[in-house]
Point group: D2
C-alpha cells in the first residue's frame, strides 16, 4: 500500500523526477492524494542502473523518505537511464530494509503497490511454491517480495508477462481456497535493465491507480517551454502510482487489467489476465 | 512543531494514554487534526519516572512513533506516575536522537511544541547566553533544547516560571533585534518529577493549542462507566497539545499567555508574561 | 554467533548485571574474549518480565549495544526478576530488528548462540516442518528464529527439553541429508517467565561456551564483602556465554551435551541428546 | 579516534579501494590493527565528487560500516576521481549522522582522526570563535566538525594550510589556558574537489598514524602483475590512516608535524606548525 515511480529514457539526475516536480514522489511520502494511506513513511527505496554494470544498485532505508538525507544526496548526484523509486506504507509487516522495495535478483528489479488480501492465510502455501533453490534467498516478510520470488519461479527472466500472470493466478487460487473473495491487488513494475513492464490488476477489478506519461514529442508540442522535455529523448517514459507535477496532458491512466512494456523501438499496452496452473 | 502529552497522577501503564484512546498521541503522529503539520514522523520520545530513582528514563528514537515496536513494548510494560511523550515534525533541523524530546538535565525533563522564528538568525546569540558550565552539554541542534538550556541558565531548578519567563524574554529581545516580528511560539512542559509546569505563549498571541484534563471527580460524575476514571486518583491530570479520546467535557483549553502547575495539594492556572533582562 | 545472558532471581536493575561488572555483556559486545567473533555489533536485545504481566517486554535494536542510549536508559530504570540479554554478530543474515534475540511467542522467550551449519541448504525443509498455524508469524530470516518455531511446533510449551531435543534432531537429520557433517551448534536459553532452561550442544561435541553462576550462599561465604550477593536470594542464578566480572569461584562451565533448569525449589543439570523423529 | 582514506586519481569504483583489498578500510571498521580503538563501529561516511557537479555527495550513516548494505551498493556502483571514506569510533559524543565524517561546506570536504583533548573544557570558547555567519550551520556535537568550522572561519577556502595552522594554534592556546598539556591530536584530510591536503600533527609530537601511497610508476615497476596499477594514472594517490592491502613498498608514513598536497602537476610534502593568533 505504497507509491512508486519508474523512469526509462535519457539519463537524468534522480532529483529531476523524485524531488523537483510539485507533488513529487517524495512529497507524496508525506501527503499522498490518491492512496488508501495518505502517509507513506515506513521505508523507501531507489534502484538504478549504472553505466557498464548489469546489476542495479539498490538503496533502501527504513525511515520516511521525506527526511532522509542520504536519499537526497543520491538523487542530487546520480544520473541513470532507468530507475525505480518506492515509498512504503506498511499494513503490518515489519518496517525493515529487507521489506523495502525495489527487490532485486541478479539484474532484475521488482516493486509493488497493493497487497495479497489476508496474506497470513496464504503465506505458507505460496512460500512452499517458490523454487527450492530460490527459497533461502527470501530475506523479508512481505507479500511483495514473495510475489517476486513466485514470478521468478514461474519464469520471469524468460517471459515476464507470463510469469506474472502465473504468479497472479496462484495467488488468486490460493486465496480463494482459503475463503478470500478478492485475493490480489497490485500494480507492479519489473525490469531487467533493458525493458520495463508495468502491471495493473486486482481481483476486484478495482485496482490501485497507475499512470504512464504521454509521448515526449506530443508533450513537447504542447509545452514548448518546458526545459526538461527538450532534454529527453522521444522514447523517455515515466510510470507512476500518482502523477507528480501539474503539466496538463502529461498523464494517462493505465487501463484496468492491463500491462505496458517500455522498450526500445516502441512501447506496448496489452490486456492482463491471471493464468491458472 | 510537534505534539506532546504530559501525565501526572496514579501510576498507569503508558499504553493507557499513549495508544488506547481513539485519536491517541500515537495516532496523531500519523494524522494530527489541529497541528500546522499533520504528520509528526520525525522522531519521538517518552520520559518517565521509575520508583525510587530521581533521574527519569528517556527513550527517544528517530523514526515515526506509529511503527516503533520498542515504544509499543515500553508502553505495554511500564507503569509510571509521571511521564512525558512527544512526537516530532521537524522544520529543517536534523532528524536525530539528540533533537528528540523530552530533553533531560538531572531530574528535570523538558519538551516543547513551537519554534523560535528564524532561529538561524538568533541561534548564536542565544547559545552564547547559556551558562558556560552547561554549554558543552548541548548535544543537538534544535531551538527547543536551547530554550531548555537557557531556562536552566536562568534558574529553572529554583523558579521554573521565572526562568521560563526570562528565557522567553531573551528569545523575544534577540529575535526583535534581528528584525523578527514574532520571535517565539511555544507550548512547553517541564517537570522535576514532583511538580509539572505547562506554558502556552506566543509573541503573536496566537499560540499552538494546549489542553488540560477536567478534574477527575467531575469527570467521574459525568462518566460513571469509564473504568479508567474509577482507577485514578482525584489529583490525576493530563495536559496535551491535542485531545485524544472522545469523552465530552474532558478537555479545557489552556488560555493564551498562561501556565498551569500540576502539584500535590491543588493545581494552579496563572498568567504568563516574558520577562526582559 | 553471539553472546547472551539470562538472569533469574531477586528483582534487580538490569544495569547491575548488564553494565556494572568488569567485562560485562555490553563490554563484550565490543571486545569478547571467548567467542569466534570478537565483535558483536550487529544488533542486540533484552527481554524482561514486568510485575503482573505474563507477556515479557522485548526491546531490540540493530546497532551495537555499546553505544545504544535507549538500552542504557532501560537498564538504569527497569527492575526484573527474570530477564534475557543478547548481543549479535551476524554471519550473513540481515541486520534487522526481526533477526535480533530474544524472540518471543506469548509468554515464552528464546535466545541462541551458534548456528545451523550451511543453513542455506536446510532452510526450506526446516521451514516447511513448522506448524502451518505458526508459519506466518516468522518475521526474520535467521536460523535462531526458525529453531524457536520448530521447538514451538514440537511442544515447547508442554515439554521444553523434549521439544528442543526434537528440534535438534530434525536439524541434524536435515543437515546430514544435505551432506553437512556437523549441522548444529547451539547454546539456547528459553523461559516461560517461571522456569528457565539453558542448553549446550553441538553436533561436533565442541560447543560454544556456557557458564552458570555458583550457588549464592556459597559465593556469599567466599565473598562476604560483595554487596550484590547480600541483596539477592539464595535461588538467584545467572547463565552466560562468557563470564562477566572477576569474582573467583563464581562461574562453572555447563558440561557438553547437557541442559540446566533454573526453577523454584532447586535447579537441575541433565544430559541433552537430540531426538530423531 | 577513527580511520580514514582519501583517494585522488583515475576514476574508480569505490569498491576497488574500500572493500577489495585485504585488510580494507571496511575490514578495519571491525578489526583495526594500528588504532587506539580496534573497533570503529560508531558510524561512517563516504563523500565523492560526481561528474559536472561541484558539490560532493556525502553518504553517512550511524551503524557499523561492515554491515551496511547501502554502503556496499554505493561502493559497487559509483566511480569517482576523488573520494573520502571514514569510519568512526566515538569517545563519548552521540552516534548520529551529523557527527559522522566527512563534513561538507559548499564544495569542500573535511575528515579527521584524533581529538581535542578534554574537549568539554574548550568547546564553548572554540564555538564562539566560529564566524557568526557560519555558526548556525554547525549541526553536530563533535570536535571534528568544530575544527572544520574554525578552519573555514580562518580562510580554509583561500589558504588551506594557513587556515588549518591557525585552527590548530587556537585549539592549542585554548586548551592550554584550560590546563590541558597536549590539547590536539589530528590527522585531517581536506579537499575542494581539485586538490587534497592531508595533515598529521599532535601537540605531543606523537600523532596518529598516516600513510601515503608510493608513486604509481614506481609501484607499477615493482608489481607489474597488479592490474589495478596498470589502470590508474601516474598521478593517482591514496592517503590512509592504516594501510590496506599487502603490497610491499606501497605505503610511506607521513612524517610527524607535516602535511601533503595531492594536486595536478606534482604532489608536495611540507612541514606543519600551528600558528598562534
Amino acid at each position: 500500500m505504497c507509491r512508486w515511480l519508474a523512469y526509462a529514457g535519457t539519463p537524468i539526475l534522480l532529483d529531476t523526477i523524485l524531488y523537483k516536480p510539485a507533488h513529487s514522489l517524495i512529497d507524496q511520502s508525506m501527503h499522498s492524494r490518491l492512496g488508501v494511506e495518505t502517509t507513506n513513511g515506513d521505508g523507501f527505496g531507489v534502484g538504478w542502473y549504472a553505466p557498464d554494470i548489469d546489476v542495479p544498485a539498490v538503496f533502501r532505508d527504513t525511515g520516511p523518505a521525506w527526511s532522509n538525507r542520504n536519499l537526497r544526496e543520491i538523487a542530487d548526484h546520480i544520473r541513470s537511464p532507468l530507475f525505480f523509486a518506492h515509498i512504503r506504507a506498511t499494513t503490518g509487516t515489519a518496517v525493515q530494509q529487507t521489506n523495502c522495495h525495489p527487490f532485486r535478483h541478479g539484474r532484475w528489479m521488482w516493486m509493488h503497490n497493493g497487497a495479497i488480501t489476508d496474506f497470513h492465510r496464504s503465506k505458507r502455501e505460496l512460500a512452499v511454491a517458490v523454487d527450492p533453490d530460490l527459497f533461502p534467498d527470501i530475506e523479508g516478510s512481505t507479500d511483495s517480495e514473495l510475489m517476486f520470488f513466485l514470478a521468478l519461479t514461474f519464469g520471469l527472466e524468460q517471459d515476464p508477462p507470463g510469469a506474472v500472470a502465473r504468479m497472479a493466478g496462484l495467488v488468486e487460487q490460493t486465496g480463494r481456497r482459503h475463503g478470500v473473495e478478492f485475493p490480489l491487488q497490485m500494480t507492479v513494475a519489473v525490469t531487467d535493465g533493458q525493458r520495463l513492464w508495468a502491471f495493473r490488476y486486482s481481483s476486484q477489478t478495482d485496482s490501485r491507480s497507475l499512470f504512464f506519461s504521454t509521448r515526449v514529442e506530443t508533450l513537447r508540442a504542447l509545452h514548448p517551454d518546458v526545459e526538461f522535455l527538450r532534454e529527453v529523448s522521444d522514447e523517455t517514459r515515466v510510470i507512476v502510482s500518482e502523477p507528480p507535477g501539474d503539466l496538463p496532458g502529461a498523464w494517462n491512466e493505465v487501463p484496468e487489467s492491463s500491462y505496458g512494456i517500455v522498450q526500445p523501438g516502441g512501447d506496448e499496452l496489452l490486456p492482463f489476465t491471471p493464468q491458472f496452473g
